[in-house]
């Protein structure tokens, strides 16, 4: 029997039992959908993590004041008072692998412009911060070194704050109130999105001179953090070691005692992000495998029922000249058609659900062509694998007994 006749035959046989055929395909649909989702979401997550890390600033290291409780992955909870401006200067001066460092501190504050009211984070730092973090301006400029020296009340707005306070108006030159102090807006930053580690909105921020925040808002002399640029990506681990030994030295920490600061570098964060992606991928892969297996068993089960129901038909076909191969082909193609239709619906289902996930998590969606190919291949392989036994069973029937079957 030729392929096209066998296909028509298979479509008709499956069409006679639409409900049963669709239920049979369900496992396969879920399995293939999960495969697509695994690849699509995994790929999207990897892309997103990379974008986020790149956005955080190339070759960046983060030095935070230490936490008393030093468990867990948090980048310091700013408990110690030992991290100071002189440390930042010393890091640039004495660590060969460091190219720049921006000291900083911060405080949560209520910000007011006209009738608009917004609770946000005020970051105090120096102008090189914007280079270290690789953060361009949308309009206006940074505050100057002089502004830092004079503790001027000037501010740069993150994109979220700009949107909430000013809407479509240009904030540069306007005056906002932070707590009780008036600040003049000198610049607006481009949006940066959420951060890789904590998923916080990095644009929900106002950046002002370090001294202004220290003296006029916080009343604290010490730093909460220092953002550091290594000279190259490769040197970030060396830079980390140099900073750690320098700070231990400067803070007079004895050998064996714990650090009173935390140093994290971009590579660590990249690892953390990658790990999240891996966990997700593993989970989805398990779901996909189970669903494909269940789908395959479903196909086998229904095909076996179908072979039994159609024993007489098989006998008739053999009596008029069907060979074992003809009968086997007929049932294999039925399994194949189940696989193809189930696979196609599964792909649509997978694309839709990955789109939903990407929308929900704010990840970019990327379903590469190979994902479609891989899952189609899976569906066909599963269908043929589990269709083979029933097909063989059909082909081995004794024609006389098959003809007598009621």
């Amino acid at each position: 029997m030729d392929f096209s006749s066998a296909f028509v035959l298979a479509l008709r046989a499956l069409g006679r039992n639409k409900m049963r055929s669709s239920l049979t395909m369900l496992g396969l649909i879920i399995g293939v959908g999960a495969v697509i989702a695994v690849i699509g979401i995994g790929d999207g997550a990897a892309t997103k993590a990379q974008e986020q890390l790149a956005a955080m600033g190339s070759n960046m290291l983060f030095v935070g004041s230490g936490s008393v409780n030093r468990y867990g992955l948090h980048v310091g909870s700013f408990q110690t008072k030992s991290l100071v401006l002189a440390d930042a200067r010393a890091i640039v001066r004495e660590c060969p692998s460091v190219s720049a460092a921006a000291p900083g501190t911060g405080i949560g504050q209520q910000v007011v412009y006209g009738n608009e009211n917004w609770a946000t984070q005020i970051t105090g730092t120096e102008p090189q911060y914007f280079e270290v973090r690789n953060w361009p301006f949308a309009s206006g400029t940074s505050f100057s070194e002089d502004d830092v020296t004079q503790a001027a009340t000037v501010a740069v707005l993150g994109d979220t704050v700009r949107k909430d306070l000013f809407g479509s108006r240009n904030p540069v030159g306007e005056t906002i109130r932070v707590g009780t102090l008036p600040f003049k807006v000198v610049g607006v930053l481009t949006p940066k999105g959420t951060s890789a580690g904590s998923n916080q909105d990095q644009d929900d921020v106002i950046i002002a001179p370090l001294t202004t925040v220290q003296k006029k808002l916080l009343g604290q002399e010490w730093l909460r953090w220092i953002m550091v640029s290594a000279v190259s990506r490769q040197s970030s681990y060396v830079a980390q070691q140099q900073i750690e030994s320098l700070l231990r030295d400067r803070h007079k920490i004895r050998a064996g005692d714990p650090d009173d600061f935390v140093v994290r570098n971009l590579a660590d964060m990249a690892d953390a992000a990658a790990e999240q992606g891996t966990v997700m991928t593993v989970l989805l892969t398990i779901v996909a495998s189970i669903a494909l297996l269940v789908g395959g068993i479903g196909i086998m089960n229904i095909m076996l029922v179908s072979v039994t129901e159609r024993t007489r038909e098989i006998g008739i076909r053999m009596a008029v000249g069907a060979t074992e191969e003809d009968v086997r082909l007929q049932f294999l193609i039925e399994a194949l058609v189940l696989g193809l239709i189930g696979g196609t619906i599964g792909i649509l289902f997978g694309v839709t659900s990955s789109l939903a996930v990407s929308q929900g998590l704010g990840w970019p969606i990327r379903i590469p062509a190979y994902a479609i190919a891989v899952s189609t291949l899976f569906a066909i392989t599963i269908a043929l694998f589990f269709g083979f036994y029933p097909a063989r069973r059909a082909s081995r029937l004794n024609p006389i007994e098959a003809l007598r079957y009621e």
Binding site: S5, G321, L403
Partner: protein, 263 residues
């Protein structure tokens, strides 16, 4: 050419000068194993049937008629004995070759019609051609021709459930004919039919036999056997009688004397 004495002496049709018999069986035996007991369905059957013959096989139920037909039809293999089809020893052939013989040389008609349900008369008739590499156009044309031969040209698109028993059996005959076989094997083809319809089927068989088709027919009705040219009687797995039907009845004549039941 080997001949079997007992058969040739009682069978004047089987004279020399007719070449190799179409069907020739020697000491055919078939034993079924049913647990401990052995069932001897055939106990040494020898017979020759030449092209153009029309044989009716009679005999009590269980005498081995169907077993014999299934072996002739290459659906089953004998336990021992030889079966030569057109001089070829069938017992040596592979399953695939047997399927090819069923497809090309043999047409089978069953008591229970054995049509595919939810499949039109035309498609049922096309079925053997699905397994003989015939293209769609030829399939359609030849299936329609075969249906016309059995008087069902206008029923091509009917499903079996929309046809009477006689019509269904005629579709089955069309299917058996469609690949132009050498032999038509019919195992109690009229067993499920009323008497007029039975004679109608025999009329078709006689017409086909006139064109040269060899027919072997199993029946337990003596009236039906009278339409054949030769009558073989089975008993206990052996041939007990093998006679020429002196003056075969003409189904077309008999039909004229019968009351019309349908239209």
């Amino acid at each position: 050419m080997a001949t079997v004495n007992s058969v040739t002496t009682t069978n004047p049709v089987e004279t020399d000068g007719r070449g190799v018999p179409l069907v020739e069986v020697h000491d055919l035996r078939k034993t079924y194993q049913l647990g401990e007991t052995e069932v001897h369905a055939l106990r040494g059957v020898s017979v020759s049937i030449h092209a153009g013959d029309f044989v009716a096989i009679m005999g009590a139920s269980g005498s081995g008629k169907s077993t014999f037909m299934n072996i002739l039809g290459c659906l089953d293999k004998p336990t021992s004995g030889r079966y030569l089809l057109e001089g070829v020893d069938v017992s040596r052939l592979t399953k695939k070759e047997l399927a090819r013989i069923r497809n090309q040389k043999i047409g089978f008609v069953f008591q229970g019609f054995n049509l595919l349900g939810r499949t039109t008369a035309l498609e049922n008739t096309e079925l053997p051609m699905l397994y003989s590499k015939t293209n769609k156009n030829d399939r359609d044309r030849r299936a329609r021709e075969a249906l016309a031969q059995v008087g069902l040209a206008d029923r091509a698109d009917h499903f079996p459930s929309q046809l009477s028993g006689g019509q269904q059996q005629r579709v089955a005959i069309a299917r058996a004919l469609v690949n132009q076989p050498r032999i038509l094997l019919a195992d109690e083809p009229t067993g499920n039919l009323d008497s007029r319809t039975s004679v109608e089927v025999m009329e078709i068989f006689q017409r086909l036999n006139l064109t040269g088709l060899t027919i072997i027919l199993v029946t337990h009705e003596p009236d039906i056997a009278q339409f054949a040219k030769r009558e073989i009687v089975f008993r206990d797995g052996q041939i007990r009688r093998d006679d020429v039907v002196k003056v075969p009845h003409m189904a077309s004549e008999v039909l004229k004397t019968m009351p019309t039941i349908r239209d």
